[in-house]
């Protein structure tokens, strides 16, 4: 009897837990310090060296050496940075960073945390431009207005500084120009794809994954 009651109780608890999990709203992004550190240490060599030099200059050679020695472990997630280390990198250093370095940190944060969408589209070699144009315009426009998640903006309050706003504008403009430059080459690529489909007499199947900063569009390309 007791066993039955126990089993029933466990079943009720499991059901309750499952029900609560299903009905609760999706979890908000709460980036952990270790995760943000990984993003920061993903910088290219040049800005990364500048970051460590700045760290050493601000907190002394001992701290600088420790950061140099440990950064691979931070990046690999083998060691979690202490709260103090995190604060030094993310709260204090941005105040003394060069604009260039701040731009690079922002670029990494945007690459990691801006939402990227995936689209699929079927196009023909004779109408791809008209079919693709509205979607490409939408994805590029999304990149212009995209903001980092609120949780990150709250955690890293320096993101609201005036110079970061300017950095964001520069990065957005660069991203847009890069997308436009690449898309200008799509004409040439489609000419080759058309040639390929033409030469293979219906035996060829072509898929092109168009990569844009804030999304990828998978194109199933067909020939009439």
């Amino acid at each position: 009897m007791t066993t039955l009651v126990g089993l029933a109780l466990i079943a009720v608890l499991c059901f309750g837990y499952y029900f609560l999990r299903r009905s609760s709203p999706p979890k908000e992004l709460k980036p952990k310090n270790a995760e943000l550190m990984k993003v920061l240490l993903n910088l290219e060599d040049e800005p990364l060296n500048e970051l460590f030099a700045l760290y050493k200059q601000q907190f002394g050679p001992g701290a600088g050496r420790y950061a140099r020695e440990t950064y691979q472990k931070w990046r690999a997630g083998e060691v979690n940075p202490s709260r103090r280390t995190f604060s030094r990198f993310f709260m204090y250093l941005p105040k003394v960073m060069s604009f260039d370095l701040k731009c690079e940190v922002l670029r990494e944060l945007r690459a990691q945390y801006l939402e990227k969408d995936k689209y699929e589209l079927e196009v023909y070699t004779d109408d791809w431009k008209e079919t693709l144009q509205p979607l490409v315009t939408e994805v590029i426009a999304k990149g212009e207005s995209a903001q980092l998640p609120a949780a990150i903006q709250q955690k890293l309050s320096w993101l609201a500084d005036d110079d970061v706003e300017v950095a964001r504008a520069i990065l957005v403009r660069s991203q847009k120009t890069e997308s436009e430059n690449n898309l200008a080459m799509l004409d040439k690529e489609f000419a080759t794809i058309n040639q390929l489909l033409d030469n293979t007499n219906g035996k060829g199947k072509v898929t092109h994954v168009l990569k844009l900063p804030l999304g990828t569009i998978t194109l199933q390309i067909k020939r009439r």
Binding site: D162, R173, T177, N181, L186, E189, K203, K205, K211
Partner: protein, 131 residues
């Protein structure tokens, strides 16, 4: 008496939010000379970076085109010499990745034609038996 105090008149507000350009213009105005210089330098660096990336993309595009032409030639050669073949290739282009599959299966075609022929034959036999 008419009240001419403008301060009491509620200020009209735009129905539209401030644009991103306005925000940037305002932000730029609040930067000091050194920061403004750094911004100008970064903007110029970005132009150079974009030009370099464009050149790299053009190179990728040219290389992908050459590789695709080679693929067409190989497929044509196989077409002449081999009955069945399947080629899968991926190319890194300026705008992304192109995947190509070229498949020719003569035996499959033969099987299909045979199956249709057998089906027609059976249908004819059944018709003949019935009448």
């Amino acid at each position: 008496m008419e009240d001419n105090n403008d301060d009491l008149i509620p200020q009209k507000q735009s129905l539209f939010p401030v644009s991103a350009d306005d925000i940037v213009d305002n932000a730029l105005q609040s930067l000091d000379e050194n920061q403004a210089r750094e911004v100008t330098k970064k903007a110029a660096d970005e132009l150079v970076r974009i030009a370099v990336e464009k050149r790299k993309a053009e190179y990728r595009s040219d290389r992908a085109q050459d590789e695709m032409r080679n693929l067409i030639n190989n497929a044509n050669l196989l077409d002449e010499r081999v009955g069945d073949y399947k080629i899968n290739s991926t190319f890194e282009t300026a705008t992304g990745t192109t995947s190509v599959e070229i498949k020719k299966s003569r035996s499959n075609t033969i099987i299909l034609i045979s199956a249709i022929a057998i089906f027609v034959l059976i249908a004819l036999v059944l018709l003949l038996i019935r009448f």
